[in-house]
Symmetry: D2
Subunit: 258 residues, 4 copies
């Protein structure tokens, strides 16, 4: 055994003078003009070509997550863009840094829970109840559940389930999410919304997107939304109005009491 | 006239309990299941629906820019990912910060030059010669030109021109780029490659993508590529090998000579 | 009770035409020319003035963490700087994104463990043994322990303990770290280095720096180090050599086997 | 001549088992317990030890720039922190991304202008008038001049000049700034504030801080301020109040008119 066995490799890209190969395919002959961006995203990240149905479901997920108004991410992007217009990439990066555990990044946490339920040997129903009880006991929010505005149901979730079913990709993870939804309602004694990141987690997992990289799909989607905010800030600047509003909303309290 | 006239507005998104509207369209009825991600990107950023031909050209641009191997951006992403695996968004953001004036961000600089040539009253040929001479004189590189590896021509550029022509979107900006290519070869006395960011600048401008936001398309494309690097780093970690190689490549020189 | 009770406040800064107040002090009269940067850092972040001894200990921590050569953070900074020299802030930000759970950010994890040991009612010795056993059982690395190069001891740790003792700030957290060091050696059956982030965690906690913000001190220190890398990259550019070395270290493996 | 001549080197740090050397000094013997953080910053970035007077002036600059309330940078940090509390480094990085051409980053632009005036063979007075006229003609703001609130003078600037004079570091760059101030008032026909970044540019340049890395000092200073905002957000969360205020300040305008 040589030391070579410890050398890492890349499967992603190789450039020659005449072409670029992405995971073994010719970029100019097999990808450009042949694949949509969504097909390329799936192929590049997951390492295999998606089916036509999977492409349509992934498209639905990406468009569902791209834009949600003046979110904290969008506000960060707008603050940074106006402060440093010479570096648009920094504004978009600042916004993406907000795709963390609280908002869109929950897609990953939910997918992990769904995988656990799917793989449970005691059956999904028992597993879902256990997950719901455990979260309630420890007062941790269940990733993928709850929304301040979309009640009783998140319209994006209902539509994603519908698309996954009509495309025939709906599978065990969507079943697990439904089971978990019923368990949550029972354990908490009230109906809690399955939000868009929960639904995306289920339908992407059923399209064989690995849990470990699922947040990456949210990042790609949100990147597009943030570029839209940069362009709007270029045409109809809102940063100073936001700044003034923020300043008024958080008054100075001297240095008493801390 | 009220103070309202100074209030900025957003056209991007509005949420109600039952739906989300993106630029006046229902996300669940008009966008999810109806638009591909590429259609949504163009619609969201540019504020109007692309034609079918424009969608195919934008798709070709996005897949062309997504991935180019272990670029400085990809290296930054891998360094940060392994240092802080709890925050994948930070790794992707770090890589996007490298989409600046030197590499992919040049798409914006090239588009600005092409617009100038298109709008020149003395005609594109004279304008192109003037631009080439001015850059040579001031020793500024011409954005969109030159490539260390792809010579004499960048295969992505040739393919993009072909697609834009077959889709019927090719227009004045592509003409301007061809004119500029001839002028560059004449003024510099040798053939210089029109690289992929130059070609993307021309074909996106011919699809009516505003110059000011063109770098945003590069960011969205590269975001997908960087997510691929994160996932490869998860499965076949290369960070430590890169770190060791970097350390060997840059020896410590004591404190003499500075 | 009015709604006002839910209004957040800021204690940090207030500007008037003639002055700026930072936590109730006049910036121009009480801070500039009166406080060192280290005093201001402690005062601003912690909300109270440090003693002279605390200032010297915090200074020692900050200089200890500022620079450690071509770390992954420094590599990310250099990659981004050369790609986007128009935005130095993006390069420094990219490097800071690497101050996460694996490297310097461990200062926070270690401080949390030390607080737990200090507060344990059964005494520090039992608590330390329990912590060491629990980490060994779950195969989680103990934050603040271990170093690939500095063996058997990290010279920065020894020096920090010495300074904290001679300044008279050393207290329960340093005791807890010593106890934990003994427990680790016993439970793992070998001596494991207390690294610099472990020592910083102890001595800063003994200076009453809250655990929750301790990583912030590492960020400030490392920020200075990364600015040094930017300036060296300006004068003696290493990015391309690093890039080439990285490329050689990670060969393309086609698309087989994944 | 060997290939070695093209090898880049680093002068910053070298680690051995027993010590770390920073620019030729032993970290544990010569730096920890011997240098303040400010001394280390200057030594590490500039490559030589500052005088005691230079240290006091650099301290004054760093404390002057650290904090200025709920700036766009601080707002970006707070947005990202609450969205991803698991990665404090991302919040601080997001805020630093706002240290660009519009706000604090202007220190670099101003320093470049001052160097040009100092080096002008026709004398500083003529050079200052030429710079002021050129900026007025092209309607570019003069970096380091103007402030919405601090009128007629920025209290931080007055204090910095005073400190630099009493420490004896004040030199040609401060003279150039005064000359430029007079020229600006004459050319624009009104008094324009010399703001804090202008004053910092002058006094740091007079301390031999290179123009090219001056923005780095602003980044280090602001990093400390942003850590303060993170800790306040931990104790008295303001993000949601800011978010609500921002949302109200920027109403949705449908999709008409764009």
């Amino acid at each position: 055994m040589s030391d070579e066995s410890n050398t890492p490799h890349t499967h992603l890209a190789r450039s020659t003078r005449e072409d670029i190969h992405i995971r073994g395919k010719s970029l100019t002959r097999d990808i450009m003009g042949q694949m949509t961006f969504t097909q390329l995203i799936y192929f590049h990240v997951c390492g295999r070509e998606p089916t036509a149905a999977q492409v349509r479901v992934v498209d639905a997920c990406l468009v569902a997550l791209a834009e949600h108004g003046l979110t904290p991410s969008a506000l960060a992007t707008r603050m940074v863009y106006t402060s440093a217009p010479e570096a648009m990439q920094a504004a978009v990066a600042a916004g993406l840094l907000g795709v963390g555990s609280l908002f869109v990044g929950t897609v990953e946490g939910c997918a992990a829970v769904l995988s656990e339920i799917v793989d449970d040997e005691e059956g999904m129903k028992d597993a879902a109840l256990r997950v719901a009880r455990e979260h309630r006991r420890t007062r941790h929010p269940i990733p993928g559940f709850g929304h301040p505005q979309h009640k009783p149901d998140d319209p994006r979730s209902l539509r994603l389930f519908e698309i996954a079913e009509s495309e025939g990709t709906a599978g065990l993870h969507q079943d697990a999410l439904m089971e978990l939804g019923r368990a949550v309602d029972e354990v908490y004694g009230k109906h809690i919304t399955i939000n868009a990141t929960g639904a995306v987690a289920a339908v992407l997992a059923d399209c064989d997107v690995p849990v470990a990289i699922m947040r990456g799909f949210a990042l790609i989607a949100r990147c597009a939304g943030l570029v839209g905010h940069v362009h709007e800030e270029q045409r109809d600047p809102a940063m100073r109005a936001i700044w003034r509003a923020a300043d008024s909303a958080v008054p100075y309290a001297g240095d008493d009491g801390e």
